[in-house]
């Protein structure tokens, strides 16, 4: 079992309503759970809780590895750094410097058009998303948490991402994905988050 959420709840202030309420989810190795839901329903909160970037109000999280792949719903990487340097730094942080080469290959597969020497501040929304996806998928991890991975991607890159995730699933990596799109639904279980509760989608 890669990851397990048991009775997970979150509210941001003591008397505020629960954004996530008594939520249970099991994510075995090599499985994918896609979370759908309206804007502001708590998808990003759920993913941040899962990555321990937010403190749980109550509940338990089991099996979160120390290092995992993570794509936040928004991020501003250092504008003056090049794509190559960015991937190299993150790969070294992860203790696997060789992963930067894999990261660069992933950016090529996803179609990062300006190339690895482009400064991050000059990248378009879609190209930045490709780079952020590359850093999340460049290492052999047991868990990847992707928040809106398809945002800004063109049709070709979306199809490539589908293939990449399928490859990682075959390697045993578990995925937790929040998205409005249905592109990844065929790869695993689909859930709907509404009023803080998670239900399996038909």
């Amino acid at each position: 079992m890669a990851l397990e959420l048991r009775g997970v709840s979150k509210r941001y202030r003591p008397n505020a309503p629960f954004v996530v309420d008594q939520l249970n989810l099991s994510l075995p190795d090599g499985s994918l759970a896609t979370i759908h839901g309206a804007n502001g329903c708590g998808k990003s909160t759920l993913l941040r809780l899962t990555g321990e970037f937010l403190r749980l109000t109550s509940g338990r999280l089991n099996g979160l590895p120390a290092k995992f792949g993570y794509l936040p719903d928004r991020a501003l990487p250092p504008a003056r750094m090049t794509a190559q340097d960015y991937l190299s730094h993150l790969a070294r942080l992860a203790g696997s410097p060789g992963a930067a080469k894999t990261g660069l290959e992933l950016t090529e597969r996803l179609g990062l058009s300006p190339g690895p020497s482009a400064r991050l501040g000059t990248l378009s929304r879609g190209n930045l998303q490709k780079l952020l996806l590359a850093q999340a998928l460049m290492r052999p991890v047991s868990l990847a948490i992707l928040d809106e991975p398809l945002t800004g991607l063109d049709a070709a890159a979306s199809a490539t991402l589908h293939t990449l995730i399928a490859e990682r699933l075959a390697d045993g990596c578990a995925f937790l994905v929040a998205t409005h799109e249905a592109d990844l639904d065929d790869l695993g279980e689909v859930y709907l988050l509404s009023d803080g509760h998670l239900s399996r989608s038909a």
Binding site: R48, A91, A94, A136
Partner: protein, 227 residues
């Protein structure tokens, strides 16, 4: 080491921290070289170093936007390690310049009061403790006020002024012990340096705890953070 390289790469490319840091480095140089050069110049320089280190601690703690910070943590394995790397980066950026001035002045016989090597070494240790403490206080303020640099600067300025008070470690407590013949009393200097390091450890621990509690890689206000 990878964390330190990462933080330095981010901080040195951001450069938001540079103008105040350049002013403080200039003030340190001015305070040091204002004649006659005596070991007592360390007193004022230590206060300026505290301000410099705390500003750099704040700057390195807030150089990334929350989303990028979460990416770094997911790669590095823990926020605590990243916080330590940030503190180390601030410390390494702040500490060398005053130490070069201090030991350079000693070895080039620029002091008019001819301090002993023991006295210069004691002053050096006090400066190191000051830089460590300042960087940690800056990191703490960075976790308390990540999106309010003006308030943070005001708070850090007050903290630096507070360091001038006689009993406050490490500067206020340690400065009076620096005499040209050696630290006097030695026990007070050791206490000042030790308390400075304890203060640094406490501030870093508190910064990590508070960060986890209040400013994780994405509270609802995370998008308002401007880096």
């Amino acid at each position: 080491m990878a964390g330190l390289r990462y933080v330095l790469a981010i901080a040195l490319r951001t450069q938001r921290w540079a103008p105040p840091a350049i002013v403080l480095v200039g003030l340190i140089a001015w305070a040091w070289f204002a004649p006659p050069l005596m070991l007592s110049a360390t007193n004022f320089v230590a206060l300026l170093l505290f301000a410099l280190a705390s500003w750099l601690g704040y700057a390195t703690a807030t150089a990334e936007d929350p989303g990028q910070e979460a990416i770094a943590v997911s790669n590095y394995g823990s926020y605590g390690r990243l916080a330590l790397a940030r503190w180390a980066a601030a410390f390494l950026l702040a500490a060398p310049f005053p130490l070069i001035l201090l030991f350079g002045s000693y070895f080039w016989h620029a002091f008019t009061d001819r301090p002993t090597l023991a006295a210069v070494g004691a002053a050096g240790l006090l400066l190191l403790s000051t830089a460590a403490c300042g960087a940690a206080i800056g990191a703490l303020v960075g976790s308390l006020l990540p999106t309010r640099p003006a308030w943070a600067a005001a708070l850090l300025f007050i903290a630096a002024l507070g360091e001038a008070a006689p009993a406050i470690p490490p500067v206020g407590l340690g400065n009076p012990t620096l005499t040209p013949t050696g630290p006097e009393p030695l026990s007070q200097l050791i206490l000042a340096i030790g308390l400075g390091l304890i203060l640094a450890a406490a501030a870093l621990t508190l910064a990590s705890w508070w960060h986890r509690r209040a400013r994780p890689g994405g509270s609802p206000e995370a998008g308002q953070h401007s880096s």
